[in-house]
Structures are given as structure tokens and as C-alpha cells.
């Protein structure tokens, strides 16, 4: 039986984004209905041309950074969308503050979404925040 999982990403650190992406990709590819809401410090990584590497929180982030065998969080979110039809939703407020258009976001991202809509859609879902 598939579950409904809503993930909120607000942190811009490597470990939190990686864990959120791992859950999103595996859950979506396993048939769960996954929606990811990107806001605050998490959204800039999905603006085309944004080249800043996500800072690490601790030693594990350094390990992931140094080992080339760890799939990047962006690749994993892309897997979630392409293999499992996960919805990757940019926060409309964050888009306004960043002063970017939807055309400037990565193509995997869906339409700008307000918090009210996201929370409404999340009814009955498991909510995870990173």
C-alpha cells in the first residue's frame, strides 16, 4: 500500500538536503506519493547557475563531500521526480524573495506553491522537515 509523504526542505546544509533527497528518491521509486516543498535556504540550489556548494554541518558532511561515490542531493531529487513522479515544489514566497522566475529554476521543479496549498495537500500525509 502506498503512503503519502510530504517533505519540507528549509535548511541549506549538505547533510539535511542529502537525507531529504534520499528519502524522497527511495520512497517515490517504491510507489509512495511524494511531494517536496523547497523554501528558505534550500531553494537557491535549484536556481539555474547557482554554483555555491552546500556547506557541511559536521564530519559526516565532509565524508560525503570527499567520497565521489555518494550521489548528489540534486541527482537524487531528480531521480525522485523522474523515476517516482515526486512533485518538487518551490515555495512561492521564497521565489519572490529571491526575485527569480520559474524559468530560472531547474526543470524538475513544479509550479510555485504557497504554504496554504501545500499544507492542504498534505492532509493525511506523513510530514518530514529538514
Amino acid at each position: 500500500m502506498s503512503r503519502k509523504i510530504h517533505i519540507v526542505c528549509v535548511s541549506g546544509t549538505r547533510e539535511k538536503l542529502q537525507m531529504a533527497a534520499m528519502i524522497a528518491s527511495v520512497a517515490a521509486a517504491s510507489g509512495d506519493e511524494v511531494s517536496v516543498f523547497f523554501s528558505m535556504n534550500a531553494l537557491p540550489y535549484f536556481v539555474k547557475g547557482y554554483a555555491t556548494a552546500a556547506p557541511v554541518e559536521g564530519s559526516f558532511g565532509v565524508l560525503m563531500q570527499e567520497d565521489g561515490g555518494v550521489p548528489s542531493f540534486k541527482q537524487l531529487f531528480k531521480y525522485a521526480a523522474e523515476l517516482g513522479d515526486a512533485r518538487l515544489l518551490p515555495c512561492s514566497m521564497a521565489i519572490d524573495l529571491l526575485k527569480v522566475s520559474t524559468e530560472e529554476l531547474d526543470p524538475e521543479l513544479g509550479p510555485p506553491t504557497g504554504l496554504t496549498r501545500f499544507l492542504s495537500d498534505a492532509e493525511g500525509a506523513q510530514m518530514l522537515t529538514f
Partner: protein, 76 residues
């Protein structure tokens, strides 16, 4: 019977091998066999778990020289 398609996911970490397998599985035809090569120990449990959940078939899983060879068949 044709040889299984080899998916070389050695030296990648969770959930990389599983995602590689799923990518190939999506493009495969029903009845096709795929063989995943993985050095990630978690794959030994994660891949059969995913196979069972989504309804494909696990053919075999064995470790040869520190590499796990996991053979699966697309069932639907």
C-alpha cells in the same frame, strides 16, 4: 535465454545502486533479467526489499570478491 543486462554500480553508496537499478528497470521489458553489481552492503537488503514491494522477481544474490551480484527479473 539471453544474458542479463549488467548494471555496474560499484563504488557508489546508498541509494545510488538502487536508483541505477530502477532506472534500468523502467526501460526494460517484462521478462528481462538485470544483474546489479554493488559494493554497497546496504544494497543486499535494500534491493530485495524494493523488488518485493514493487512486485518484481529476485533471482539470486551472491557475493563474489567483495562485490554483490544481485540478479532480478522484471515481472510487470
Amino acid at each position: 535465454m539471453s544474458e542479463p543486462r549488467i548494471i555496474d554500480a560499484r563504488d557508489t553508496f546508498c541509494p545510488g545502486p538502487l536508483m541505477e537499478l530502477i532506472s534500468y528497470m523502467k526501460r526494460a521489458s517484462v521478462g528481462d533479467e538485470l544483474e546489479l553489481l554493488s559494493t554497497d552492503k546496504g544494497s543486499v537488503n535494500d534491493v530485495p526489499e524494493w523488488i518485493a514491494k514493487v512486485g518484481h522477481e529476485l533471482i539470486s544474490s551472491e557475493q563474489i570478491d567483495n562485490v554483490w551480484h544481485i540478479k532480478v527479473r522484471k515481472a510487470k
